[in-house]
Subunit: 100 residues, 2 copies
DNA sequence: CAGGAATATTCCTATTTGAGCATATAACCT
DNA sequence: AGGTTATATGCTCAAATAGGAATATTCCTG
């Protein structure tokens, strides 16, 4: 699954948000999001296939954590567009630059 | 439509890519992507509803251009995750910093 | 105002996908 | 080994959506 498709789902974005504070077992995500466990597992599988999370086995638990690789790709995709919103500030920027 | 959903579609990403070089009429996008005109119009509508493009009427033509607002939001959403891939370079970064 | 070019809209269909539920697998403990 | 906890998988259904084809709308020109 592509990064773009992976983050299109709000549940998957919520999961990534939770993992910002560090790796978590599935159960913790289920508790915090109030969703059914099978659905959380399925979205975690999707995130894993997209390369957005990695798993670490800890006894009976699976600890999921963020793998930022695909997010860095997204950041890279975004790059050429940055000129557009940066450009909106050009007039101000150049004014300030000249004041230096 | 949310920005995340809007950029999940490859055709819509292609259209945004074409608009990087400036505003274009629908026909130009149709020619360059080799897609049927109604489909291009539909995806442009989706992009417009997502706030990703703006339209300017020029006679019988509609000139579409990028509106970077939602992309800036995406950039903002990405922000907390940057620490993760930046962190991967910390060891190297700090090493280089100390060399200065 | 008639015709033609550019674009939008509608209808239909096939595919995808997320949720719910039931069930299966895996690991730990005694 | 048996029971319990943690997680994954399979099945089915309903909703969303992209594409194709036909049609409608808008605007310019003569």
């Amino acid at each position: 699954m592509l990064i773009f498709t992976a983050i299109a789902d709000p549940v998957r974005r919520d999961i990534l948000g939770l993992l910002l504070t560090g790796e978590k077992p599935v159960g913790a995500i289920v508790d915090e999001l109030g969703l059914a466990q099978p659905n959380v597992s399925k979205q975690l599988k999707a995130l894993h296939e997209a390369g957005l999370v990695q798993v670490r086995i800890d006894g009976p638990r699976r600890l999921y954590r963020i793998d930022p690789g695909p997010l860095a790709e997204l950041d890279n995709w975004l790059q050429p567009y940055r000129a557009f919103w940066a450009g909106k500030l050009d007039a101000l920027d150049e004014h300030l630059m000249r004041s230096d």
